[in-house]
């Protein structure tokens, strides 16, 4: 499978009054054509920052892409000029966010917002645009698309707004869709509709999806491959089946155990003690070591590098690496 996107050693830093924060550190991954890759982590893991960095959407200051390389279809995103970048954004790479109300302009009609994308990236005339907007709304399952096109975001329900955002993202048939918590704000029955929609559109247009989420259920149902992040770093990667059946990093193991609600009826859940460390007060060594039941003395001394413990299974954990060797 040829890679659509290749990220190598990405680092994003934020300068704050309390010091510099490494929001993303040494992140490398690739996404193949038509593949769905999930970036999983808790708040503060750096997953959303990494997604924004892919499109150079990090506000500078206070943020900065401090290191790394982002190759999309062979082009170096970090070396593009502003106008080249604009072609990629919303054209070849589209992004959808958790809260569609924040991403849609409240004073423009749906037709005008989706039409803008078509005018910018496809150079369509007014009439062609109006037709295409209705077609796109129909494609994402908005009922009465011609009437909806004339309405404003506030006229629509949350699920409908998310569909509009997806329609806008699809307007230029992107090669890669970055979806940042696309269903977190939605009810489960609507979430099922939206995930189903993304899946069917992916199959139809062969686009790759980078799914950013904290919901392991959503990951299990949609992703081919999973990257687990903790405190700004990738700690484990594998296929969805590998991650769920044979997690190697103690953090991944803990996350999966803690989410096994239904299997431990009546019994206590296995907890991960403590909380995610503050970025201003990172522990020495492995960032997870203060919460890890298996931590060795060396875990508290140096940061474990990512090492393949099996083919295609990089894990950043001394304990997992020892067990594998």
């Amino acid at each position: 499978m040829s890679a659509v996107l290749e990220v190598a050693d990405l680092a994003v830093r934020f300068r704050t009054t309390r010091g510099t924060v490494n929001a993303v550190d040494g992140l490398s991954f690739a996404i193949g054509e038509g593949e769905t890759v999930a970036l999983v982590g808790e708040s503060g893991s750096g997953k959303s920052t990494a997604a924004l960095a892919l499109l150079r959407l990090i506000a500078d200051p206070p943020g900065r892409i401090a290191a790394g390389r982002i190759l999309f279809e062979g082009r170096d995103i970090l070396a593009l000029r502003e106008e080249e970048l604009r072609e990629v954004r919303g054209g070849r790479i589209a992004m959808i966010f958790q809260d569609p109300m924040m991403a849609l302009n409240p004073v423009y009609t749906i037709e005008r917002q989706i039409g803008e994308v078509l005018a910018l990236h496809a150079g369509m005339g007014r009439e062609a645009r109006a037709k295409e907007v209705v077609e796109l709304l129909r494609l994402v399952g908005v009922p009465a698309p011609a009437e909806r096109a004339k309405q404003y975001p506030h006229n629509l329900s949350g699920g409908m707004r998310q569909r509009v955002m997806i329609a806008m993202a699809l307007a230029c048939k992107p090669k890669l869709l970055i979806a940042d918590e696309p269903t977190t704000a939605l009810d489960v029955t609507v979430q099922a509709q939206v995930l189903d929609l993304i899946q069917s559109l992916k199959d139809r247009f062969g686009m790759a999806v980078l799914l950013i989420t904290h919901d392991l259920g959503v990951v299990a149902e949609t992703a081919h491959r999973v990257i687990v992040m903790y405190a700004g770093r990738k700690v484990e990667e594998g296929t969805t089946a590998q991650i769920f059946k044979d997690p190697r990093h103690p953090y991944t193991q803990g996350l999966l155990e803690a989410a096994k609600w239904e299997e431990v009826e009546g019994a206590m859940l296995r907890e991960i003690p403590g909380a995610v460390p503050s970025p201003f007060d990172m522990p020495k060594g492995c960032a997870f070591s203060p919460r890890c039941g298996a931590a060795l003395p060396r875990c508290r001394e140096s940061v474990p590098p990512l090492v393949e413990v099996a083919p295609g299974r990089p894990v950043a954990c001394f304990v997992a690496q020892e067990r594998a060797s």
Partner: protein, 335 residues
């Protein structure tokens, strides 16, 4: 204080809450039907979960039970006493028996108060005890919820989300309530922290015999923590049964769709099961559909569903609000 009958600590009888909607001078008055005839009885030491999507009325239910909003009709009975029409003074005395833990621990704790004042405040309100005794009790409560007693001098902004939710639980426990209403108590917390708080709630229940009314949209979590589950749709209970029976089978088409839509963190299981994808959104609770309220999205609807609204009736060991539930072969598998 007299106890309720048969170990029932909290009872809702046919609760109704309608909110008026602004309307023009010559237009008819309209109402949001937030709750329409909700009844249940919560027993001592039991966890009853209320599940449903946004707009189903689950948070309005919590507010009506706490009398934070006045119900339009029906009754709330706490420990055998009808509290529906009690004045604020009398209500204050009774509130100690029923406490609430909210979803967002960033919004529910006063940022200017120390943790000690937050947790000690219910004791100050409900009991006349010297300050030293109150401080001792606060320290004890903090230890009960797994926090160092030294946290009493800190302020909410110094705490993580999980620690704040522990403080909110300590505050609820301060007056030894019989009932705690938990309104989405972990959904604002990180996954790795949720298990800590859920385990804490379970340990406290085992030790103190508190009953929980557990409001949540996380179905897997609800199956884990509750003894019984009530599924709500557009202001009504559509199915109510033991969690064990619910795990075995679901009888109402909406419950089936809801539970099938919830993503499961197991790639094998999710490949095996059939999801029921409902069309459309939850209809507006202003002018809800006549007849069965779920009929506009129900894949199994029939002519009768539009004409006649189903009653909540007993089918086997449970209550279901559907004309056809319990009939052999219903609902038929979708092609």
């Amino acid at each position: 204080m007299s106890g309720g009958r048969g170990g029932v600590v909290l009872e809702a009888v046919d609760l109704v809450k309608h909110f008026p909607v602004k309307h023009g001078l010559f237009q008819p008055a309209r109402h949001v039907h937030a709750l329409d005839g909700v009844s249940f009885a919560l027993k001592r030491g039991e966890t009853l979960a209320i599940v449903g999507e946004s707009g189903c009325g689950k948070s309005t239910l919590a507010k009506c039970l706490m009398r934070l909003t006045e119900p339009t009709g029906g009754r709330v009975v706490l420990l055998g006493d009808d509290i529906t029409h009690l004045g604020q003074g009398a209500l204050r005395g009774l509130r100690r028996h029923m406490q609430i833990v909210f979803q967002d621990p960033y919004a529910s704790l006063n940022p200017r108060w120390s943790i000690g004042s937050i947790v000690g405040d219910p004791i100050r309100l409900h009991e006349k005890v010297p300050a030293a005794e109150r401080r001792r009790r606060v320290a004890e409560l903090l230890e009960t919820v797994g926090l160092d007693p030294g946290f009493a001098d800190r302020h909410p902004h110094e705490l993580s989300g999980g620690q704040r939710q522990r403080v909110a639980i300590a505050r609820a426990l301060a007056v030894n309530p019989s009932v705690i209403i938990c309104d989405e108590p972990v959904s604002a917390l990180d996954v790795s922290i949720q298990a800590q708080v859920i385990n804490l709630l379970k340990r406290l229940q085992a030790k103190l015999g508190i009953a929980y009314l557990f409001i949540s949209h996380n179905l897997a979590l609800v199956e884990h923590i509750s003894d019984r589950i009530a599924v709500m749709y557009l202001g009504q209970v559509v199915e109510l049964a033991d969690t064990r029976s619910m795990r075995r089978e679901l009888l109402h088409p909406y419950s089936k769709a809801l539970f099938s839509a919830a993503p499961v963190a197991d790639p094998d299981a999710s490949a095996r099961r059939t999801r029921i994808i409902l069309a459309g959104d939850v209809p507006s609770p202003v002018d809800p559909p006549g007849g069965c309220r779920f009929r506009t999205r129900c894949p199994w609807k029939q002519a009768r569903c539009a004409d006649e609204s189903p009653a909540l009736r007993a089918v086997g060991d449970r209550l279901v609000r559907c004309h056809f539930a319990g009939e052999p072969g219903f609902p038929a598998p979708l092609s």
